[in-house]
C-alpha cells in the first residue's frame, strides 16, 4: 500500500484503570493520541503502555487473532484488539473512544480480567471428544467431508471470551453456560466420532442451558471468528428434539406450541401458547392478562383469527415436519 493513503486523526481515549492490589475503586484515565488509519486497537494499548504509563496492563500474545488473549471492550463492544482496526471503531463510534476490560466487575488489573467463570463453564460442557478409540489402530479414523461440515466451523473458536462477556444472559444469570461454552458443546456433539451421552442433556438443563438464551444475537455480532454462537445454540435445541433428550418443560413446550397453533390457525394463538407452555402455572400470568384484556389486547378463543388457505399450511406441516416430540 502506498504511504499516501495513510490518514491520521485525533482520538480521545477514556481508559479503564484499576489495580486490585492497590485501588479501592476503578477510575478512568484520559489520553489523546493521533491515530493512523493503519492501526488496530492493540496498537493503541501498546502506545498507552510505551508512551504514557508503563504500569498499564493488558493481555496479548499472538497478535494474529489466534490466541484469544487480547479481547477487550471498545465503547461497550467486545472486540479482539489485535484484529479490530481503529478506523472501523472510529467509523462506529466517532472520536471519543472508551477502552474497558471485557467485564469491569471481573477486572484484576486494567484490561486484565479473571476469566475463571468462562473456563469453568467451558470445562463443564465436556469440551473434548469422548470416544472409545483403539490406541493402535490399523488405519486412520476417517471423517467424510460432509460429516466434517457438520461442525459448522465451531472448531475455530479461540476462547477469546468476546461473546461470553457480551451476553446479557451471562451477566444476569451466573449459572448460564454462555455462548462460547455452547459452541464447544456443539463442536463435539456434531462430531460423528463422539459418543458422550451426557453432554447434550447437560446443556439442555434449565437455568444453565441453551433454553435461557434470550436470542439477542450479540454473540453472533461480536465473534471475531464469525462462528455465530447463537446458530450453534439453535442447533443444540434442534438436536435435543431430534435425539429425544428434550425434557418436557416450559421451554420445550414453548417451542413445540408454535407448531400446534400454526396447525390449527395458521397464526400463533398467543393465549393458547402460554397455556400450553405453562400448564397449571398459567395462573401467575392472570394479573397481566387481565390488564391486557381491559385494554383490548386479548383475543378470546372463539374470535381467534385464522390464516386464509389454512388447508395449504396444514398440508405442508404434514409433509414437511421432520421432528416429533
Amino acid at each position: 500500500m502506498s504511504t499516501n493513503s495513510i490518514t491520521t486523526q485525533k482520538v480521545n481515549f477514556k481508559v479503564f484503570r484499576f489495580n486490585a492490589d492497590e485501588d479501592y475503586l476503578p477510575y478512568y484515565e484520559n489520553y489523546t493520541m493521533d491515530i493512523t488509519s493503519e492501526e488496530v486497537v492493540l496498537d493503541v494499548l501498546n502506545r498507552i503502555k510505551w508512551d504514557h504509563d508503563g504500569s498499564f496492563s493488558y493481555r496479548r500474545s499472538c497478535r494474529h487473532g489466534i490466541c484469544g488473549a487480547c479481547a477487550i471492550k471498545v465503547n461497550g463492544r467486545s472486540t479482539l484488539a489485535c484484529k479490530e482496526s481503529m478506523t472501523t471503531m472510529i467509523e462506529y463510534f466517532g472520536n471519543e473512544i472508551t477502552l474497558e476490560p471485557l467485564s469491569t466487575k471481573r477486572a484484576v488489573k486494567d484490561m486484565i480480567i479473571d476469566k475463571a467463570d468462562f473456563w469453568d463453564k467451558h470445562a463443564s460442557v465436556t469440551p473434548y471428544l469422548v470416544a472409545d478409540i483403539d490406541e493402535c489402530p490399523s488405519c486412520e479414523n476417517l471423517v467424510s467431508p460432509h460429516d466434517a461440515e457438520e461442525l459448522n466451523e465451531a472448531d475455530l473458536c479461540i476462547q477469546c471470551g468476546a461473546c461470553h462477556y457480551a451476553c446479557p444472559a451471562v451477566e444476569i444469570n451466573s449459572d448460564f453456560f454462555g455462548p462460547a461454552a455452547f459452541v464447544a458443546a456443539y463442536r463435539f456433539e456434531s462430531d460423528v466420532r463422539d459418543s458422550d451421552a451426557e453432554r447434550l442433556i447437560n446443556v439442555n438443563e434449565e437455568r444453565q442451558g441453551v433454553w435461557d438464551c434470550v436470542k439477542c444475537y450479540e454473540c453472533a455480532e461480536v465473534c471475531p471468528k464469525d462462528i455465530n454462537p447463537i446458530d450453534k445454540i439453535t442447533k443444540l435445541h434442534q438436536m435435543a428434539f431430534k435425539r429425544g433428550v428434550a425434557k418436557n418443560n416450559v421451554a420445550t413446550r414453548h417451542a413445540v406450541g408454535f407448531l400446534h397453533s400454526i396447525k390449527k390457525h395458521g397464526m400463533l394463538d398467543e393465549g393458547g401458547l402460554v397455556l400450553y407452555s405453562e400448564g397449571v402455572h398459567i395462573v401467575k400470568h392472570i394479573p397481566v392478562a387481565l390488564a391486557m384484556f381491559k385494554k383490548g389486547k386479548i383475543v378470546l378463543p372463539w374470535n381467534m383469527p385464522k390464516s386464509d388457505k389454512l388447508d395449504e399450511i396444514q398440508k405442508l406441516i404434514k409433509s414437511s415436519s421432520t421432528v416429533k416430540f
Binding site: 433454553w211 439453535t234 414453548h254 391486557m292 399450511i313
Partner: protein, 293 residues
Amino acid sequence: MKKLKYALFTGCTAKQSTPEQMMSTMAVARKLNIEMIELTEASCCGASHLQDYDDFLSLVLNARNIAYAEKHGLTMVTICNTCQLNTAMTKHRLDNNAELKAKVNEKLAEIGLEYKGTSNVIHFLYAIIDDFGLDKIKEMVVKPLSQFNIAPFYGCHNIRPSELHDESHKQKENPYNPTSLDDLIIACGGKNVDYEEKNKCCGFHVELQAPHTAAVLTGTAIAGATDQNADMMVTPCPLCHLKLDTQTKSASEAIGREVSLPVLHMQQMVGLALGCTPAELGLKHHVTEVNFI
C-alpha cells in the same frame, strides 16, 4: 412520487395482543399514500421458536409466505422485528443454498407454489426511511413532537445479525450505534434520547422460560430511558412493545426500582406527528397509559 405499494406481512401480534400496531400501520400508510396488500394467507413466521424445534418446517412455511409476496410481485413489508429476522433469514438461506431451495420448493410444489427469491423483505421502519424518505416525512409533519424527549428502543432482530440487515436495507445500520429510529424521531420534531440500553435486548423471548433474566432486561431498559429524562419510549417491534408496556411490575421488582414509561410503536409516533388522531392510532390499547395527549 410513484405510489409505494407493498405486500404486508402482519405477523400474529398485530391481529391479537397489539391491535394498535395494525391500526397505526394502516393509518400511517394512508397518510403517506402507501398501498398495502395484506398477505392474508400468510402463516406465523415461527418467531424464532418453531425454528428451535423443526428447522426445515419453519423454512418451508416462511418460504410460502414470501412466495405469496412474489405472486403479487411486491416487496414484503414486515411490522415486527422477529418476523423480519425469521423471514429475511429464510430468504438469505434459500438464496444462498440451491440444494436447500430445491428441497423447500419440492414441498411448496405440493400446494402449487414456488419460492423464486424475487421479492425483497424489509421492515416498515426501513420502508419509511429508505423508500419514502425522511425528508418527505419531515415536510409532512403537522404536529411536531417538539415538547417530548423520546427514547428509541431498536430491538435486537432489526439490527443483529447485521449481515442480514446489509442485504435488506439501503442504509446500513450500525448495530452498535444505530441511527434509524433516532433520525425518525428527529424527523417527527421530537428530541431523541441517547441511553445505553437503546440497542439491547428486552428479554421477550425468554419471558416464560427465564422470567428473571427477561424482567431484569426490561427493567434496565426502561430505567435507562427514564434516567435520561425520556417522556416515552418508541420501538419498531411489537414484541419489545409488549414486554416494555405490559411487564413493568415484574420488571420493577426484578431491578428493585419502580419503572414505567409509555411505549409507542414507531408507527404511532409517526402517526401523531402526521396528525392522525389518538383513536386512529389505537393509543387507548396500551397497558401503561399514554398520558401525554
